[in-house]
């Protein structure tokens, strides 16, 4: 089972769980229709497009409404802490929510006891919490962008808003240095997929893959393009790929989806998600 957990920006939505369906430009979970906007909804839409393409079981979502106050986030943490052992997912992908180091520790301890151990992926504030809590190296995949990589490489920072200025100012050409530092300081997951002008996939031995084409600079502007990579990567891991392959294919497919959608800085993430099946077919060398 692939579980994706995170908040959605609709305060009225209670804790909901269930298999995900697609309806027009929305995902549907437990009867709630949630548009594909930036965040966990975009990640789920990309994961669902991928599981559909591969003929796999649809992802199951665990969601709660939260527009920033953190109540929905805490409900989510607590639900996962209480239920993750019974759910026992193959892949657990954690996404947008209020970082809470103590609750992240509690959840991690529950997950870590499971045999077989679920594959753990974190992006967005789940990644912030995992790193700040000193748990990064226990995760399988992180998917930071360039500024988030600087955060992972800053031993003292607990949030990207408080990284050292010289790290933020570093050019993306120096990402390999930051990757090395992040691994050395135990701020990295087992595999890093760094999203940037060149997507870099690395482990503690160094850069393993570089994905740099097609070059679609406008993708950086579009809210949700990082979420779509993480969603695809989660689904590919669920399908049995190893983490390096899953990261490389999701990074490449995201770029091709952007190219097929002919994105501009004003495009929406839904235009990219709609192209994921064709993009995956190209990357995997198959007919759509």
């Amino acid at each position: 089972m692939l579980i994706i957990a995170g908040i959605v920006p609709v305060a009225e939505i209670p804790l909901i769980t269930g298999s995900v369906q697609m309806k027009d430009d929305s995902i549907v979970v437990d009867g709630h229709r949630i548009p594909w906007s930036q965040g966990t909804a975009a990640m789920i839409a990309a994961a669902l497009a991928t599981t559909d393409y591969l003929g796999l079981e649809a992802p199951r979502a665990i969601l709660a409404g939260d527009t920033g106050a953190g109540r929905g986030s805490r409900t989510l943490y607590k639900y996962l802490i209480d239920n993750v052992a019974a759910i026992h997912p193959k892949v657990l992908a954690l996404h947008y929510w209020m970082p809470d180091l103590e609750l992240m520790h509690q959840l991690y301890e529950k997950v870590d006891r499971l045999q077989p151990r679920p594959i753990l992926i974190a992006d967005a504030a789940s990644m912030y919490a995992a790193k700040a809590a000193g748990l990064a190296s226990g995760f399988d995949v992180f998917t930071p962008d360039c500024s988030e990589l600087a955060f992972l490489a800053d031993a003292d920072a607990f949030h990207p808003a408080y990284i050292a200025k010289h790290l933020f100012e570093m050019d993306s050409d120096r990402n390999p240095e930051l990757i090395e530092t992040a691994f050395k300081l135990k701020g990295a997951a087992r595999i890093l997929l760094v999203k940037g002008p060149r997507d870099l996939i690395a482990d503690e031995t160094g850069i393993l893959e570089v994905i740099d084409g097609p070059d679609i600079p406008a993708m950086e502007c579009i809210g949700g393009t990082g979420d779509s990579i993480t969603g695809m990567c989660s689904a590919l891991l669920f399908g049995g790929m190893n983490a390096v392959q899953a990261a490389a294919i999701s990074a490449g497919a995201n770029r091709i989806a952007g190219q097929l959608a002919a994105v501009t800085p004003a495009s929406s993430i839904s235009s990219v998600v709609k192209q994921i099946p064709k993009a995956l077919a190209q990357v995997l060398g198959e007919q759509p």
Binding site: H95, M98, A125, S147, E148, A161, E220, G223, T264
Partner: protein
């Protein structure tokens, strides 16, 4: 909130974990610190009065310990009610990241502050996208901001709760300045 927990029973390791995300609000007077504690508690923001460490003693000898993730909400609630000297983390870099990076695209400008990016159309000043971030107010603010002109938005620091919202606010502020400057040159 699990951040404070039961401090007298927590282990050293737990206290260490809590300190990572803690910040201090520094005030000019003891009275201001006490008043701020009362106001924040009424607004469901957990905090406690503490003595600031020597390196943060810029005002009175009483400070408020907060969960720094909620910095935006704390700033907004105390604004115009209690004067604040500064808000600082208890560890690491003391200053919130205050620099922006600007990228130009054909007809659009992207302004990046920390982990947040905001893109506007040069001709109209309309926000066409926000991206990056990870805190729970960010997807909400994406919906609130996209499609609106830079001079017609509610600032992210007025809507948000998190450090990501403060970074998005810096990006919005930078974008407004760039757009206004370009308009004045036309």
């Amino acid at each position: 909130m699990a951040w404070f927990g039961k401090s007298n029973k927590s282990s050293a390791a737990q206290r260490g974990k809590q300190q990572v995300e803690s910040g201090l609000v520094i005030f000019y007077s003891v009275e201001d610190a006490i008043m701020a504690e009362r106001i924040l508690n009424k607004n469901d923001i957990r905090c406690r009065l503490v003595a600031p460490p020597p390196f943060l003693r810029k005002g009175c000898d009483l400070a408020l310990e907060i969960n720094l993730i909620q910095q935006a909400a704390v700033q907004r609630i105390l604004q115009d009610r209690v004067p604040v000297v500064q808000i600082s983390p208890l560890s690491g870099t003391a200053e919130l990241l205050d620099i922006i990076k600007v990228s130009e695209y054909d007809g659009y400008t992207m302004v990046k502050a920390g982990n947040m990016k905001l893109t506007f159309e040069n001709a109209s000043g309309m926000i066409v996208n926000t991206s990056g971030g990870g805190c729970p107010d960010i997807p909400y603010m994406n919906i609130e901001l996209v499609g609106k002109r830079l001079d017609q938005i509610r600032r992210p620091k007025e809507m948000g709760h998190s450090l990501c919202s403060l970074m998005l606010d810096r990006a919005a502020e930078g974008a407004q300045e760039i757009w206004e400057e370009r308009k004045s040159q036309c």
